[in-house]
């Protein structure tokens, strides 16, 4: 029985990789549908990020008394990366419920719906990073070789997002209260994670940072882009969480994969 469940899970994963055309198409289609017939198209992502960042920078540079040439790069990377991470988590909940029509009609690997979510967010991030590159260049921030560390950071974030997609997506199909719970949790996390405010403002209570899982992911992505190195503790925390989530999600998905269609 257990061997059968694992074999089915491997087949699902292999099928997902083979069906890359399907999730690529669905993800691109998701984005096209949002901006169909608009002039800027997906560059609305870029523009709306620029407007938010501009407004935040204008006000908070005074509140925190940080010079704009230091604050603007910080807030722009933080804001765009937070948007990426939080929509990966929030949209993880809906990977199966929002594809109910497809799941009940054709036999696609379940991973297709998870990859669709991750790939879609990566495309949005690519559009937003245009804004980021412009701001960093204007502010004279050159990440240098440290910038390359953003690649392993992205890989960790994406593996975590895929694990969450399998885990939260399956849970949300069965328990419809999960998505609103995750949604409100993310709102709270936005305030307690150093996105707008800098981590050194919380020097006296380091546990409030170390205990926040999203802080570590944000830090390993943001520091390289600003030409800094993230603390080793954040790398270790992120690696540990990624591995743990991957393990939990694999076992969980193997156990409940064949039930998902019944829960929709």
């Amino acid at each position: 029985m257990t061997a059968g469940l694992m074999a089915g899970t491997f087949a699902d994963t292999a099928g997902t990789l083979r069906s890359w055309r399907v999730w690529n198409l669905l993800a691109v289609q998701d984005i096209r549908q949002r901006y169909r017939r608009s002039m800027l198209g997906p560059f609305w992502f870029t523009l709306s990020a620029l407007v938010s960042i501009g407004a935040l920078a204008l006000v908070y540079t005074h509140i925190f008394k940080i010079p704009i040439e230091r604050y603007l790069p910080f807030i722009s990377t933080g804001f765009i990366l937070w948007g990426f991470l939080s929509s990966l988590i929030v949209e993880s909940c809906g990977v199966f419920t929002s594809s109910e029509g497809i799941i009940k009609q054709i036999n696609l690997p379940f991973g297709v719906h998870v990859m669709r979510m991750a790939w879609r967010n990566l495309i949005v991030l690519a559009h937003n990073s245009v804004a980021l590159v412009v701001i960093l260049a204007l502010m004279g921030v050159n990440p240098g070789w440290n910038g390359l560390l953003v690649v392993p950071g992205l890989i960790l974030a994406l593996v975590t997002a895929l694990s969450l997609g399998y885990l939260l997506g399956t849970l949300s199909a069965r328990f419809r209260d999960i998505p609103p719970i995750v949604g409100s949790l993310m709102q709270v996390l936005f305030y307690v994670t150093p996105v707008i405010w800098t981590p050194d403002l919380l020097k006296e209570r380091p546990i409030l940072l170390a205990g926040n899982p999203l802080y570590h992911y944000l830090e390993i992505l943001r520091a390289p882009l600003l030409g800094q190195t993230a603390p080793p503790s954040s790398w270790m925390a992120a690696c540990g969480m990624t591995a743990a989530l991957l393990l939990i999600a694999s076992l969980f998905f193997a156990r409940f994969r064949t039930r998902i269609a019944f829960w929709l």
Binding site: R21, R37, G101, I102, K104, Q105, I106, A261, F262
Partner: protein, 242 residues
């Protein structure tokens, strides 16, 4: 070549509602003696397929008949791999194409040509395979210049023509159909029927759920009647002399 073997296939549907609902049931069960099956007294189950045994070999045209709710569509979905049986053993070998919902994957804002590609990829074709068949599909729809317009500008009949043309261009070992597809105006219907017949002729196994016994008799070689998820009749159909 495909084949399908079912041994003791059982499919139980869990029915989830609000907490209130299952609580109410718990109370009611005490007074009514319990009609609805439940596991460990927590969830309501509906048994959609009840110990089915059959095997379909290449060349068979199976007609599924039965009342609403007798399990026809559920069986088709189990055969297509959407639902995994909760008991027994179901082996399906071969490429399965299901024509349960032919408009799945169409995007109203994309043009006809784009939708041919979209629908084709959803059905498991590669862009190259779609491209090879695109002309034939476009020609069959008879939509002409409309194919360069967004799908939402089409009438519902025209949308179905497009969906039908793409969905029926695939080659499979097993074809699943919920009612014989019939689309478009009188003239198109005739061509559509012909196209569908050609598809059925080149597909080794056909499983067709239908409410029209006469039609089943004219297309199928075997008839299975379902009632409350059980097979109540399974017999060959004498081919009528044409």
């Amino acid at each position: 070549m495909g084949h399908i073997i079912a041994r003791d296939v059982v499919l139980d549907f869990p029915v989830y509602n609000s907490l209130n609902r299952s609580f109410k049931n718990t109370v009611l069960r005490a007074t009514t003696g319990g009609q609805i099956a439940s596991d460990s007294g927590r969830h309501v189950h509906v048994r959609s397929l009840d110990h089915l045994n059959f095997s379909f070999a290449a060349g068979e045209r199976v007609g599924l008949v039965g009342h609403n709710g007798s399990g026809k569509t559920t069986l088709l979905r189990a055969l297509s791999g959407v639902y995994t049986p909760t008991g027994g053993d179901l082996t399906v070998k071969g490429r399965v194409t299901s024509l349960l919902d032919i408009s799945l994957g169409l995007d109203p804002d994309a043009t006809g040509h784009e939708n041919i590609l979209l629908r084709g990829i959803m059905m498991g074709m590669t862009p190259r395979e779609v491209a090879a068949k695109a002309n034939e599909i476009a020609e069959f729809t008879d939509l002409g210049d409309y194919l360069s317009m967004p799908l939402r500008t089409y009438s519902s009949g025209m949308q179905m023509r497009l969906a039908f043309a793409v969905s029926t261009c695939v080659d499979a070992d097993i074809l699943l159909m919920d009612e014989w597809l019939s689309v478009g105006d009188a003239d198109f219907q005739e061509r559509a029927t012909e196209r569908l017949k050609r598809l059925v002729d080149r597909t080794p196994i056909l499983v067709l759920a239908s409410h029209a016994p006469d039609f089943v008799a004219s297309v199928c070689t075997r008839l299975i009647e379902l009632s409350h998820g059980r097979i109540v009749a399974d017999r060959p159909i004498e081919q009528q002399a044409a």
